[in-house]
């Protein structure tokens, strides 16, 4: 099993006719994702790599129900940042239960309104500013891996879940884990922004409840409270699977933003030291050098079950 995405989920792509939309549809199809339809207003009737394009999510969803045995489960959004709010809310209101928002530079009050709509409709979203989600050997959402052949070569299926606040480091963490023989159930990049859909604690709970995930590896960063909130879940006993973590930004100065909108220490909150302490106190293994992460993960899974190796 995997979380969030597998080969059975019906996926639509919003902004499928754009440069990124086309390129990543190619990746998703090539990897095995069940991409059934796309949407771009005014481009209805076209096709992208054999995938039919509709003007609205509603039409795409209706097509999906008629021809693929059920509703659109997931929408992956590739529209310009300023159009993301409308696109995501359109999908949520059409009944899509998971929206993956890839674009960068989405205004934070837009993200808040998307969250509000998601809450009202019982939907979830990942991002904004996510590289995506991949369940190795099953399916990919977004652009992790860039090309299907790279994604196939880099990520091995198995029993460790990866959650990351960095897109590039999602791939990197997963790749280096694979190098020491650790396979992965799902890799989720939650996004680099300050207000996100699914956060560390949310995804950790999915992994906790997934029978095929035995341990969780996280790539955290300074800023915000995701790591602390995950630590709280561990302390309360809600997350009991081993957690191995690296937190980036040890050398970062307060008040300066380091690329990601969420990676800023403000008012003494969200510091590297604070996150390391919260996770360590909660029983996680926190490595101080990224290079030590694979060995630490190996130790954590052999200590619990001896499983987790690449299949």
């Amino acid at each position: 099993m995997a979380v969030l995405i597998d080969e059975t989920k019906r996926v639509i792509v919003q902004g499928i006719t754009g440069r990124e939309g086309q390129a990543r549809t190619n990746l998703m199809l090539g990897y095995g994702t069940n991409v059934v339809a796309g949407c771009t207003p005014t481009k209805g009737g076209q096709e992208v790599q054999g995938v039919p394009v509709f003007n609205t999510v509603k039409e795409a969803d209706a097509y999906c129900r008629e021809n693929h045995g059920g509703p659109a489960d997931v929408s992956v959004v590739f529209v310009p940042a300023r159009l993301v709010k409308a696109a995501a809310i359109e999908a949520i209101e059409a009944g899509v239960k998971l929206v993956v928002i890839v674009p960068d530079r989405v205004p934070v009050w837009d993200a808040i309104q998307i969250a509000d709509a998601a809450k009202a409709h019982g939907a979830n979203f990942v991002g904004p500013n996510t590289l995506g989600i991949i369940s190795p050997g099953k399916a990919v959402l977004g652009m992790i891996g860039g090309r299907a052949e790279s994604a196939k070569a880099w990520f091995k299926p198995g029993n460790v879940g990866v959650i990351s606040r960095s897109g590039g480091m999602s791939s990197s963490t997963a790749y280096y884990l694979g190098q020491v023989g650790i396979g992965l159930s799902t890799i989720c990049h939650v996004g680099g922004d300050s207000v996100l859909g699914l956060r560390f604690p949310d995804v950790a709970l999915l992994f906790q409840d997934d029978p095929d995930t035995e341990a969780i590896v996280i790539f955290g960063e300074i800023g915000g409270s995701q790591e602390e909130d995950l630590a709280a879940l561990m302390k309360s006993g809600r997350v009991t699977k081993p957690v191995v973590a690296y937190i980036g930004g040890k050398a970062a100065k307060e008040g300066t933003r380091f690329s990601h909108a969420g990676a800023i220490i403000e008012g003494g909150r969200g510091t590297h030291a604070g996150k390391v302490k919260a996770l360590t106190d909660a029983g996680a293994t926190v490595v101080s050098s990224f290079g030590d992460l694979p060995e630490a993960a190996l130790k954590a899974i052999t200590a619990t079950s001896g499983g987790g190796s690449a299949s």
């Binding site: 960095s166 790749y175 790539f219 960063e221």
Partner: protein, 516 residues
């Protein structure tokens, strides 16, 4: 920067019906005196600076007459707070305070919604009195719950006749934050006065970087959170980013000097936010000091990476150039390799460079970079995804310690002799030059071969194969062509790219200014 000064934020509050003290901002002591004369004394004069506790550092003073205001403003305008010189003071009427309250709005990442913090005790040092602070969840559209707000205020010691005004002020904070898309808005203190008003005595406000484009009225020049006023290079970098949305380019200057014991200043070029931070940590734990934090990612154009490298190498005293990101990039890495190779060649890089280009097309990327830079005085080494940040940081340290050259002196780019005399056509942000006199059969053939179909052979020389307007956005393809031709020993194409403002920073009039 997306932080507003007190006087700017107060103007927004006033526009939305909230009461702020009468006053005005001044950049000179004389102007401050004039404002005081108009207001009538006594007045309060406050430095406009992004810091808490201005009073404690002498940044807030009271004055009884305009002459005193001039005197005090002179001192205040010569202050420096952190890395920021004080350039403005706010002169305001003195308000007779009865009670001090506190209200702020923040975006709660766990709730994914705005949250209002309200203290009906007020004053400074709010963090220490967390127990007195009420936390009001907000609906993103409608704000805090009215009934709850009223109940809280009714239970406080705020006088009955002012309770509605306090409630309106809290609502006002929500409305202003929502209207201008603030990440945070804090009024500390919000005061009740002896004459029965509710006044925002101070205000701090930060606008969301990504929403600045929707609020041109705020006049925010550079939407970046930095702990210092934007330096010339940061402005240049910001303009590069705004002019080219293919991928992202982030640049922040961190250090111009090293502490004792440092192995030296490093030009740092990351790729991807998390990978950049992790690589920054790796190079710093090797004992280096990074001059800047840079990140080009999200599939950046070769031109953007080139301009990033030019920006980094406009900083003096670097002992080396260190590039590393996540190491397993989803983007095609050869574009970055072409951009770097071009910049290093133009600047005749003398210091060592270690660049990790792991990810898609890493083999091609490393081959291009190493080969194109083989003749440079500085050693340039490319690495792939199986080379860890720690390994390459150690390798970088070895190269730096073995290097005998002086630290980097910024310089303008060299250009081939045919620039200005060969044939040329414009592209976005520059010009492509072709050495028509220098083209032999082989050079022409190679130019066409490496042009991604943009050039064809005509009368023995390479000419455009498509309409001129169709190549405007093909800067990356021509950069690739230029680098490949240089590798092949037939350097007959040169892309002249503008980096607006860089020549001034370098103080070097000879820097290329393509397209003019």
């Amino acid at each position: 920067m997306a932080r507003l000064h007190e006087y700017q934020a107060k103007a927004l509050l006033a526009k939305h019906g909230m009461i702020v003290p009468r006053g005005g901002s001044a950049t000179t002591p004389r102007a401050a005196g004039e404002i005081a004369a108009k207001l009538g004394c006594p007045v309060v004069v406050k430095i406009q600076a992004w810091t808490t506790g201005r009073k404690a550092i002498g940044g807030v003073v009271f004055a009884d007459n305009p002459a005193e205001v001039v005197e005090q403003a002179k001192r205040l305008l010569s202050m420096t707070v952190g890395n920021f010189p004080v350039t403005e003071v706010l002169v305001e009427e003195l308000v007779a305070i009865r009670e001090e309250l506190f209200v702020s709005l923040a975006l709660d990442d766990a709730a994914r919604a705005p949250v209002i913090l309200l203290s009906l005790a007020g004053g400074s040092g709010i963090e220490q009195r967390a127990g007195d602070v009420h936390r009001l969840a907000c609906d993103p559209k409608t704000g805090p719950d009215d009934a709850l707000l009223k109940k809280l205020i009714a239970a406080s010691r705020v006088e009955t006749e002012l309770q509605d005004a306090v409630a309106s002020a809290v609502r006002g904070v929500f409305e202003v934050a929502k209207t201008y898309e603030a990440r945070s808005l804090e009024i500390n203190p919000l005061v009740t006065t002896e004459d029965g008003r509710v006044v925002a005595a101070d205000c701090r406000m930060t606008i969301d970087d990504y929403a600045v484009f929707r609020h041109p009225e705020l006049g925010i020049e550079i939407a970046r959170e930095l702990d210092h006023p934007p330096a010339a290079l940061e402005r240049i970098a910001y303009d590069i980013e705004q002019a080219d949305h293919r991928g992202t380019f982030y640049f922040a200057q961190l250090n111009t000097k090293t502490d004792d014991g440092s192995k030296g200043l490093v030009g740092f070029h990351g790729a991807g936010g998390g990978g950049s931070m992790m690589s920054m940590d790796a190079i710093m734990s090797e004992g280096f000091t990074i001059a800047n934090f840079t990140d080009t990612s999200g599939n950046p154009s070769a031109a953007k990476v080139y301009r990033a490298a030019r920006s980094i190498l406009s900083q003096p005293d670097l002992v080396g150039y260190f590039g590393s990101g996540s190491g397993v990039a989803s983007q095609e890495q050869f574009w970055s390799a072409y951009g770097l190779a071009k910049a290093f060649w133009e600047l005749e890089l003398t210091i060592p460079a270690v660049i990790r280009l792991g990810g898609n097309s890493e083999d091609r990327a490393v081959e291009v970079l190493s080969d194109a830079c083989a003749e440079l005085p500085g050693k340039v080494e490319g690495y792939k995804k199986d080379d860890t940040p720690r390994t390459i940081s150690q390798r970088f340290a070895e190269l730096v310690s073995a290097s005998t050259v002086a630290p980097w002196v910024p310089r303008g780019p060299r250009t081939p002799a045919f620039v200005g005399s060969g044939s040329s056509f414009p592209i976005n942000g520059g010009k492509v030059w072709i050495d028509t006199d220098g083209c032999d059969v082989e050079a022409t053939r190679l130019a066409v071969e490496h042009s991604s179909g943009l050039l064809k052979e005509e009368a023995g020389i390479p000419v455009l194969a498509v309409a001129e307007e169709d190549v405007a956005g093909k800067d990356s393809e021509f950069i690739a062509c230029e680098v490949e031709l240089r590798r092949a020993g037939k350097p007959v194409v040169h892309v002249e790219l503008d980096v607006p403002g860089l020549a001034e920073v370098l103080g070097c009039a000879a820097v290329a200014g393509g397209g003019n």
